[in-house]
Subunit: 764 residues, 2 copies
């Protein structure tokens, strides 16, 4: 149904785009005609202008979204709302070779649960690394709810580098949240379970099932989580949920909310009311307040026991050392969000219409004065709710999460049941604006919204249901992220973006210019361990070596051939392929796919990757480059020949399918001379212009010069064979000379077009 067709189109007199002769393609067409034909209102046109990003344009912010049960992270630009990349994290993904090459298999293997491969994740909350509470653009952390794990993604190359498994938890939802200088990454349980791996009957739920909160130590130097220096709080068997780390005055503290503090266990199949009834009975649940600075001191002082490879702080110790407090919070909260200045903590109870603003100062005062309502069944002091509250505000039905604006005291809270966003003043406790969204908003995110200095500007609403928003694509619908302009007094809906894969839960957004990813690796780089690969191979040094039962292939990839082109092994051999991409040019990725062996690699410029498999059956297995890298891409191929055990090659040589003569050689040489003339003219154009002022063109010229270097080598070989009157090989090498010329011409033409389109000037 085209809802927008139902809108009334206001008269747009005077809006016709009168364009001059320079853009004659448009002269027949007015903006008004297009708007009328497409049913666009003035509001729509303004939204279009605020989001449309022309070719080559850049987005102002880059959003990193969890991918839900796709197990990935989704990267998109704001305000264009174009998805730039899916990052493979917990799920194997062949385009990236993730889970296919040996190096990334090793990362995934870190995430095994009790020895079992887990081939998906349920990613929920991404978090940027921070320096002094500001996003620093170095790392991204993401959790897996289904199998309590946290992954580290390096934003220098947008690759997953590490997965850690929580040794105590069987479920978590509240991760990842970082402390102000990325000292720790917080991860809290969701559904309580025994901390051991043993069976414990549900009858012992209250005594032996536990929640918890892990502070994963992050080694900022190495860029990896340091499990040995991480610590976990044992907590009561509530359903702990999201967390946030303190800032400024609240630095050193963490805040974790919870639901089902009723400790209810359902069992609808045996006549017990379901979890949803028993877990939402009490009017309040508990905000957990933890003192990580003090816990860290205890750990450093050797006062905390080690268990399962990290430190574990038992409940009794946490209480005895005053490391943990509870504060009542309204019914079944979803989000806990510390204000940018760190003075306030906002919590919404989804089954309450109130959003609660806690004051960190008041919390500290209550602790100091021991202003407690009592203790919970596990002895944790419960801070008097009223003593801790700054304000409670009725925002609407089903309040969930809060994000902050650049303007002081201004926040945005999602209202799930109302399907609205509320803009409000959390200092004064008053509503400033409300906006309907479609439908049922979960999280929301403002630009740099979790940092100490949010930019505000845009807000993205993560809607849980899309229903009729997009063209139908079957029973499983895309999610919908709606972009909202929050730069003015009133919120403006700008754009609906379908999410084509995965069910995002939360997004973080960073200023685009804080990210400085590389376009290539150092040559021979193992990107997963971030070190030079022992299997790196230089051009001309390709080799095949057998060690025991393993055949190691040290190969290279470059436009447009794979070296070696023929690999011979014996049935039963283990084959370990190692390929280095020799390219330096941006975006010159090569892929490698091999028939029937489940081998599929992505090899970006400079990278070295490996694939190890057993050649079980004798046969012929073609391989080829999977990335359309050049005009001769389809010819970038080879054969793995698996010979039967003990097979003796017949003495006969390779039969040529086509024989070449002196005339063929001379014809090819003539073509090459003509092609060189074209190249020379392009080179003349480039060098007569200020191409050095354009870094893109400089890169293309460097690449073209490389190709031309290869061309000379091939030419030399051709001439040597011709001198020996071996016209078969002379013709083929002359052909190869021409292939390098074609690649050079391709680059040269691209450089010339770039110069023409970007107003390069002639050097006088």
């Amino acid at each position: 149904m085209k809802f927008y067709k139902k809108r009334t189109l206001p008269l747009l007199i005077g809006l016709t785009l009168g364009l001059g002769a320079a853009s004659s393609a448009y002269s027949q067409e007015s903006l008004q005609d297009v708007m009328k034909a497409r049913g666009l209102t003035q509001k729509d046109l303004l939204a279009a202008a605020k989001t449309y990003t022309p070719t080559g344009g850049r987005d102002e912010y880059i959003a990193f979204s969890s991918g839900g049960q796709s197990g990935q992270v989704i990267v998109y630009g704001i305000p264009s709302m174009r998805i730039l990349k899916y990052l493979a994290v917990f799920t194997p993904e062949p385009w990236q070779g993730y889970g296919f090459d040996d190096e990334s298999k090793a990362v995934l293997a870190q995430g095994r649960i009790q020895g079992k491969d887990i081939l998906y994740g349920d990613t929920h909350h991404p978090a940027f690394s921070e320096t002094n509470g500001e996003y620093d653009g170095r790392y991204l952390f993401i959790n897996d709810k289904a199998n309590p794990r946290v992954a580290v993604i390096d934003l220098h190359d947008f690759e997953t580098k590490q997965i850690v498994v929580n040794p105590f938890f069987k479920s978590e939802h509240g991760g990842a949240f970082v402390t102000g200088n990325t000292e720790y990454v917080m991860e809290a349980t969701q559904y309580a379970a025994p901390f051991s791996e043993e069976f414990v009957p549900l009858e012992e739920f209250n005594e032996k099932y536990r929640g918890g909160l892990t502070y994963w130590k992050f080694d900022n130097q190495k860029g990896r989580i340091d499990m040995a220096n991480s610590f976990t709080f044992e907590l009561p068997p509530y359903s702990q949920d999201l967390s946030d780390a303190g800032k400024g005055p609240s630095e050193g503290w963490g805040f974790t909310n919870s639901f089902c503090t009723e400790r209810y266990v359902g069992g609808i199949e045996r006549g017990r009311p379901p979890f949803e009834a028993g877990c939402s009975q009490k009017d309040t649940d508990f905000l957990h307040v933890t003192n990580w600075k003090k816990a860290e001191e205890l750990v450093k002082a050797g006062k905390v026991k080690q268990e399962k490879g990290m430190y574990l702080i038992p409940l009794e110790q946490a209480v005895a050392e005053s490391l943990v407090y509870l504060i009542p919070e309204p019914k079944s909260p979803h989000g806990v969000d510390v204000s940018p200045d760190g003075t306030k903590i906002i919590v919404s109870g989804k089954l309450d219409t109130h959003t609660s603003v806690y004051s960190f100062e008041k919390i500290q005062k209550a602790i100091a004065e021991k202003n407690f309502e009592g203790t919970d069944p596990y002895g944790i002091p419960i801070i008097n709710m009223k003593a801790a509250l700054h304000k409670q505000v009725q925002l609407g039905l089903g309040p969930l999460h809060t994000q902050y604006d650049s303007k002081a005291c201004v926040a945005y809270t999602s209202l799930y049941v109302d399907s609205m966003v509320a803009k409000w003043d959390y200092c004064e406790g008053k509503i400033l604006d409300k906006l309907s969204i479609h439908y049922n908003i979960g999280h929301l995110v403002s630009m740099e919204g979790d940092s100490v200095s949010p930019d505000g500007k845009y807000l993205v609403s993560l809607n849980k249901l899309a229903i009729d928003r997009f063209n139908p694509v079957g029973p499983l619908h895309p999610q919908n992220h709606q972009l909202i302009d929050i730069s003015g007094d009133q919120m403006q809906l700008l754009y609906d973006m379908p999410l084509p894969l995965g069910e995002p839960h939360y997004v973080v957004a960073i200023k685009a210019d804080k990210l400085k990813p590389v376009v290539r690796y150092q040559s021979g780089w193992d990107s997963r361990s971030d070190s030079r690969s022992p299997y790196r191979t230089r051009a001309g040094r390709e080799k095949i070596e057998k060690e025991g039962d393993t055949v190691h292939v040290y190969g290279t990839l470059i436009r447009s051939h794979i070296t070696p082109e023929i690999i011979e092994v014996e049935e039963g051999d283990t084959v370990s392929l190692h390929f280095t991409n020799l390219e330096r040019a941006e975006d010159e990725t090569h892929g490698f796919a091999l028939y029937g062996q489940n081998v599929n690699l992505s090899v970006e410029p400079g990278k070295t990757v490996s694939a190890t498999f057993k050649a079980e059956k004798a046969g012929v297995y073609p391989y080829y480059c999977t990335e359309f890298c050049s005009a001769l891409h389809l010819e970038m191929q080879g054969y793995l020949l698996v010979k039967p055990k003990g097979y003796q090659v017949a003495a006969s040589g390779m039969q040529e399918g086509q024989a070449y003569t002196k005339a063929d050689y001379e014809k090819q040489v003539k073509t090459n001379v003509d092609t060189q003339a074209v190249i020379d003219s392009v080179v003349a154009y480039i060098t007569s212009h200020n191409y050095k002022d354009f870094s893109e063109v400089v890169a293309l010229v460097e690449d073209a010069t490389d190709q031309l270097g290869f061309a000379s080598e091939a030419k030399k070989k051709a001439e040597e064979f011709a001198a020996k009157e071996d016209y078969q090989n002379a013709t083929l090498w002359a052909g190869q000379h021409w292939q390098y010329q074609v690649k050079t011409a391709d680059l040269g033409l691209r450089a010339k077009t770039f110069l023409e389109e970007h107003g390069a000037t002639k050097i006088k």
Copy 2:
């Protein structure tokens, strides 16, 4: 680098949007200000207006793109260029539960190669099913280059239903292409290999390596490929490439091009020039012309031998029966495209500047007159090239693929090396327009461009390199699809779309209104076999049954609980979970994830899915719903308890974490009464308006009525327990009553908002 900032912004006097009081949020902002701030030109604004699609709007065309080595199909809307869905085809994908539930595992298992699981595919060419040469919107076919396979996707639910493995090929590129009434799906080899699974040395390449072309029979009734009635042409060991089926006068014929007809085998590691040199030496390769109608008759007449489960037409038989001809075509072609009227076949040689237009009439005449240049080394007659040609046109450097316009004789050809699209007249042989794209275009697609009546209108350019077009995201770049307006005389670039996952090769685009996917399944549906699941379960009929060592769980999912909530099995048991989603509401998908067992399901409304695994270790394994389905989504949870062998449950019952009194019950009842008042007021609003005129609202009301029905049941239970003075259960059931009320209110409010936003009128 923000290229668009370098553009000059023309003065836009008079373009200020003067908006009335009704839209005060915008009154302070002029279109001109936004354009200036974002560096947009008038051309950009027009492009924005042509592509921007407001909330709830619909796209005019739906594009289906191959996902390359991601193994998926990508669905996006045109002109909004928003990606709507990634369809899992050859690669397991957890969001869709693909490769995780037993039903989809069975589909993937069909694609095993020599008994081995292949966990990716290299998808290349999607094709729609056709009726009388028009896209009919029923099915989509897609091939896998790496492991010669073809998949069938049902567009009724956008799911992969079947994978067939080619029993002869070891590589293919030229699939899938359909005949005019979807009688057959064409698939041609790429790299020649023996048709047997045995090792054959490369020295016997010319004699024993083979290319081929399979015509897969499609059963239009069953919607599945019928292997037993499919046939394969044995062909020479050239690298056969893309195909296209004849239309109109050429109906009954197929056209397949090829490269490396030199039959060159590289070996750069042993001093032989690489494949790329030897495979591009000759000036011409061969267009293969096959008569499938005649071949079909031979098959039906029992004159073709059966092998490996289908029919195989040996080379000698194909020649003897005049089923195959060759025509020289310019150097290393990429695309072969039959014109909409079926009279012409256009082929471009990527290493030649000529694009060749063949006349089907002339081809037939040459065949009738035996106007042959000779035969190839395998005895296939070679039709005289000049006799078959209508025209040859110099379009530019690196011509690849051609697409057709709605205007007669107008075509668009991609120029890879020039990075341009040429619009030209293939009847007269003249160039009409050229447009630069960024960078290195491969395929291109016009709307319904492969059908007998293309719409033209838009063209998408599938660029192989993005380089600097988008914000950087590391060494591995997204691809770039550029949208071009071809409705006028000159082409206009409208939009750059990054492809965030996979390397698309080809796209087909269909009128959106031809697709009528369902939003739900019949209750208890196995979507992969398209039949009622033997494991379907109705509400209240959930059960756990042990058969031998297998525990079958017949469960259900509905907002917001999983039944059963507790599953108990013994260590060593095989557990077979079967879940039916009881929802009928659009977009009410539930997911199911289970800790540590690699179990992750997506269960759309009506679907029944299964997951079978061995409970190897005793322990506690939480499970939960992964799709944020409702306010109580987080509480939609349960536990799998794996007990040690022979474990005896202690007699003690479940300990309640929280005890409820009469006062608690009465408090809950009061809340429920208040909530009912809110529901009643919403119901009053809805029923006092013409809600029946809005199908969306009718669906919401039906869903709300269902929820309210559940609410009454819970209320009744609560009252029964209260009558027995069991206030524990009375309070919990009263709580459950309230949960249903919350769901009802959620739906009601959504319906009310919809009515308000869509101008519903009050019934008098």
